[in-house]
Symmetry: D2
Subunit: 260 residues, 4 copies
């Protein structure tokens, strides 16, 4: 049986007259699309376009839920009450489910975005609010989170399917955390190096940390970006090299495969 790994990317992030990213190009590369739900990006019409393009290519769809902060693109930490956060996440999942139905596809997972993603990696209260939202709408929805983060254990303990992800273009500390963006070398730019690292991750389960040590990451998915032509080229190279090494690129959440 061929070994496979998932490639996911943040899509549907245009808003009205503003374009962001090259969704069509990325949908030819990834197996999972984290689609914006309108709170940090994405207007209904644009979201629908992205969902239709994902459906055409058989790309698995997830809800990229966020704090309500368009002007901040969901990147600013917010002290939101847990009950409000739960309702915000339900609202976004539901909205995306409606649009997904219109596009002939189905929402399979939830990936929190930006500041919310970082917050629930360490804040179990907001984490519980997100988990409660998912279980309430559809307990079959999986949660994508940072490989190694406590939110994955928390979600698993709550009965959710979880998917750990690695970041293709980010450096890791020896403890397995992401090197903060403000530090030198935090973001990798060499497509060939990045692809080689991801092949090693997919085949050996390890990635090389910033000090040269090998760290183990339980990642079933790799996050790639598409917000610049360079980023798209990196994503394409990652996929090419994975396939060159005999690895499939596929979501583990496809129906029928889920309980395999």
């Amino acid at each position: 049986m061929m070994k496979a790994i998932d490639l996911n990317s943040d899509l549907g992030e245009s808003y009205g007259a503003w374009r962001m990213g090259d969704d069509a190009a990325m949908l030819d590369i990834v197996s999972s699309a984290n689609v914006a739900c309108g709170f940090h990006a994405g207007d209904p019409s644009g979201i629908l376009r992205t969902l239709r393009a994902a459906a055409q290519r058989g790309v698995t769809v997830g809800a990229h839920v966020s704090y309500p902060d368009l002007v901040g693109f969901g990147r600013r930490d917010m002290d939101i009450a847990p009950a409000d956060l739960t309702a915000d996440v339900i609202y976004q999942i539901g909205a995306l489910q409606g649009l997904a139905a219109a596009a002939g596809t189905t929402v399979r997972y939830v990936k929190p975005h930006g500041a919310l993603y970082n917050r629930i990696a360490v804040d179990a209260v907001q984490g519980a609010a997100v988990i409660a939202a998912i279980k309430t709408v559809d307990p079959a929805l999986a949660l994508i989170g940072l490989a190694g983060a406590q939110i994955l254990d928390q979600a698993r303990a709550a009965g959710l399917a979880v998917v750990g992800e690695a970041y293709a273009d980010r450096a890791y500390t020896p403890k397995g955390h992401l090197v903060p963006r403000r530090e030198p070398g935090a973001v990798l730019h060499d497509a060939s190096l990045i692809a080689a690292r991801m092949v090693r991750l997919a085949t050996e389960g390890v990635v090389e940390a910033s000090d040269g040590s090998a760290i183990r990451l339980e990642a079933q998915s790799i996050c790639v970006h598409g917000d610049s032509p360079g980023a798209v080229a990196i994503a394409r190279e990652v996929r090419r090299r994975l396939e060159e090494h005999g690895l499939g690129v596929a979501s583990s959440l496809l129906p029928g495969l889920r309980h395999a």
Copy 2:
């Protein structure tokens, strides 16, 4: 078999720190709740509260979809492209479906709000965009519209279940249109008179027009308001008098009843 008529009201119209209407009081009176979906009113947390209260009382829930215009409360006509309008309506229905699932209930119908309601009463292009949205998300959803308006024929022709509604506190022209709000006598305030008119409508199918003539209205539902203590009292009186005359107050859209 007891004859019944539906009472519907616009609910869930608070937003963040701002309160509007007395949802708890109205949910004890009406059989159908048109719940705001966030575009003219309603934040996710407040919507969820209203949906839970509706679910507790067995009140049927509909999506009160709107143009995207919070500051204008959805009351300003907008020239929105049909494809964008369709996506906006799908988004709102989906969001409400998600929150309804969390509240243990189900969205049964769609009622356009404010300027959109008035527009599709006469504009078949925007009407078609709304109908397309409903059919795409769930063709079992009914559409509530103004009794006698062309949108009901249009929706019926498209295969949707429709519910015509009358306005309890509004005067009608001899042709069966609402007297515009800016004209004297357009809005009725006498609870007893209003209740008597609605009893006549429910029993004889007619309402007295502004010139004293009797006009026929095919209304399966009566819209009552709850945005002031006086409005709540009127709604209560309408229900009391309907029941006094042996009429039931119930939605025609309850599952099991729908195809009766």
Copy 3:
């Protein structure tokens, strides 16, 4: 010469169809109006109404600036970059200045709202961002802040006029901080007691803390609320009792008086 103290209140907090507070009643009581600028509350048309009513009564006007968070009413802490915060505050002050000109009045001070108010009481970075905004638009604008908070020293050191304020209906710790709202007794409701406390503050410069000790507060202004009929009655009683004790109610920022 008659001693005077300022009474300030948060006004202009309606938004579109949603009403909040009784601005007309409060403008008959207070000497300073903290007017919302559209980021936590206030649409342009409603703000203009409040400014006109303030101008008619000779009430001094300030910009009640906030984080951009309508649905959270500016009450949720946000990690906003200092440069963005500065620009947000400038934008709000400018918008209010434009509307104030249209109403025939002038913005005299800035009072940060909600979470921003609390944040800059302790966070000198966001505090500096607010101060930079004020100095940039008009260095003659004063800053109202919590009596005793570091932001007042910081603003004074930066060359701004500052006004310390006390909260009429809040209990104080022995150290002069507000008792957090979640603790019992944090909010006072007895109009007579509240008025007596404020008379003592205005005459002796002290307020009784929650443990019975007397604490010194350098407050040139007292914040009163108008968000319920009970709150309006308390504000009215505070003013009545101040006047009964021969104290004037006036802003210290009136032109001509400022350098007295």
Copy 4:
């Protein structure tokens, strides 16, 4: 004395994480910057950046005011009450004045954007609402509008300075109206042709209509676009050819020049 004409362009139209246009490139070409005010585009931080760049280059600044419609980019006609429209326009002008002060420049004119621009070209009620806003904030602000449109006469009659503008890349009907965008040939793409047309306009006061006839346009300004590399190149060519023909590129609204 050298004859001069103004070149204006819509700038500051990025929003949060979304980029639009190449403001730096355009500010090297134009003499007037129509800067977004947050209602159709432009967040405070981004607006401030554009204003600073305009100030550095001595480019005259105007307020590009819009209906409140971010997701529709201000391009959708809205039935907004005149009093609300006036307040909306005042708010935007004031906000931009605040940011302009911070950038060391001054707002000199107002140019309505998108659907509002088209509406007031023909709707004297909304036109009057815009004029009232301008006069209220600062009667020295000029209004830029479509050369030949009634709004210019209306504004002039109300005592405002007006600037008529021609569109560099648009075809004109024999009556001097813009050929609607949906018609073939409505938008011109040939930089050399466009530049030649604008030289003729600046020197002879005429532009060739779609039927080959010459029409007279009283335009003191030419609108050029910067939303694509091609558009920037066209704008640059227009300027180059104007200068080649001995024409200056300058705003007529510079202080000192205004009453020349």
